[in-house]
Amino acid sequence: MAMAIASAPQQTAVATPPIIDSHDVHLWYGTNEALKGINLTFHEHEITALIGPSGCGKSTYLRTLNRMNDLIPGVTIKGEVTLKGQDIYSSSMDTVALRKEVGMVFQQPNPFPFSIYDNVTYGLRLGGKPSREELDEAVETSLRQAAVWEDVKDKLHDSALALSGGQQQRVCIARVLAVKPDVILLDEPTSALDPISSSQIENMLVNLKKDYTIILVTHNMSQASRISDRTAFFLQGNLIEYDDTKTIFLNPHKKETEDYISGRFG
């Protein structure tokens, strides 16, 4: 067991190429600097967890990766974020195309007040007019991937708002999967859910890893340790430590990380 832990970092570190690279990312809300120069590289087909106490900037950082912070007035961003080598903050970058590559799931389940079917096909119908068969197939595939097909297959045309919180969140994940992004960002996707729904979503994320790159913000440290390959620890707008998850949890190099992991604050 100890051997496996010791050898794990090298294995994952060389296993997959980087997909998102951020270099010296600063972000200000007005004059308040929320991110103070973040350098972080995410690797394909891995789950990366971003952890840290409330207000440490982890969600803010997550939202710089698909430019959702652009929507907030008064935000200034400096630095470089590349997706497969392309600068996503360059003036020629199309945010619409970017967000199709980098999907996002939010903390509160937020299905549209439409039917489950219309929710899942929403992203597909934006680009053009897919045929009925294509849509049907995409609905089944993505709902199966999101492990909610069995729950909803008989009520696809009922309102998604009639589902339970956990089912709603999985429909929201299916809605993102249907667009076939490369990267999925999840902002505390299980914090509003009960333990059973949370573990269903965790299992699903582990299964999705083979097809997608997953970046997950979580408050729940055991969740991070259970499912992630790498973990980044944020504190007050700084990236304190980024390493293999096992290293972070068993053998952190920084004192702040150790204090946080061991529950001394946060």
Binding site: P111, Y122, G123, L126, G127
Partner: protein, 309 residues
């Protein structure tokens, strides 16, 4: 022992605060009762008068809705009073529907601008303009309609200028602010996270507006439109000034015609209480009352259905 008795006594007696609460309850209940009594009284009064046309004066209900001759003082060969209200009914519905049809797209466009496209400018400029428009008395609208719109219609569309077209134009301006501000409320009530979810799926801003925000706001916008229609249906003065007030079935949009309200306001002063012509006017009032009741029920239905989502 004595102290215990004191506590016991104070607990058994109603306290100052609980007395005040009871007074408050009685007072607010009295206020509510008064309102209910007034509403019921109005209904009963209008209904008894309005129905008297058909019971006491032997008016024919079928004639009321289908005949086109409005001359309640006289009777036809079979002795029924001439109470054909069809011209007014058609007139009322025509101006109401037309003004709603014209106002709705403008109202939705303005609301989208104010909520989605430029909230700051919308709030600074459009909001005060709309509030101002709501506050203008209807006689002013009517006067403007009479001196500007009627001549405009006369020169560009022919006829005397009085008629449904002029009425529609005036009502359009009158209901636009109401429909707009209620549509603004409907759009604002759409949660932010719907917009975020849509944008995060790679939708453009415009796609987000018409595929998510507008769709989620449909019940609210329908309520706004029906509210505007009920205002248009009940508006009397401004319409009366521009519609021509001829109790004839409208031949086209520029022929002088009338609405339920305009005939009511025209006729009220010229009839004696209890006479057939007076009762016939009450029948028109009853129809108006029932229609506004219907609008209210529709609004309730829609907002309840919207709340389910």
């Amino acid at each position: 022992m004595q102290q215990q008795d004191k506590i016991r006594e104070s607990m058994l007696k109603p306290s100052q605060a609980s007395k005040r609460e009871r007074h408050g309850k009685i007072l607010s209940f009295a206020a509510i009762s008064l309102i209910v009594i007034v509403v019921v009284a109005i209904f009963v009064f209008v209904a008894t008068r309005g129905i008297a046309t058909f019971t006491v004066d032997k008016g024919n209900l079928w004639d009321f809705f289908t005949k086109t001759t409005w001359n309640p003082g006289q009777t036809d060969k079979s002795g029924h009073p001439l109470i054909g209200a069809l011209p007014m009914i058609v007139g009322s519905f025509a101006v109401t529907l037309l003004s709603a049809v014209v106002a709705t797209p403008f109202a939705i466009a303005a609301a989208i601008y104010m909520v989605e496209i430029s909230p700051r400018r919308g709030y600074k400029i459009l909001q005060p303009v709309i509030e101002l428009l709501v506050g203008i008395p209807s006689v002013v609208y009517g006067f403007v309609g009479l001196s500007l719109i009627v001549p405009f219609v006369r020169t560009h569309f022919g006829g005397t200028g009085f008629g449904i077209l002029a009425g529609t134009m005036v009502l359009f301006v009158m209901i636009l602010p109401t429909v707009t501000s209620m549509s603004v409320d409907a759009l604002r009530a759409v949660p932010r996270y719907y917009r975020e979810a849509s944008l995060a799926l790679g939708a453009t801003r415009w796609q987000t507006i018409y595929k998510v925000v507008l769709r989620a706001a449909v019940p609210g916008i329908m309520t706004a439109v029906i509210f505007g229609m009920s205002r248009a249906f009940g508006e009397a003065l401004a319409v009366q000034m521009v519609i021509g007030n001829a109790t004839l079935l409208p031949q086209n949009l520029v022929s002088p015609s009338s609405t339920l309200t305009s005939i009511l306001t025209m006729g009220m002063g010229n009839s004696v209480m209890g006479s057939v012509s007076n009762n016939a006017l009450w029948s028109l009032a009853l129809l108006l009352l029932l229609m506004s009741l219907l609008f209210n029920i529709l609004i309730h239905r829609i907002s309840k259905k919207g709340a389910l989502h």
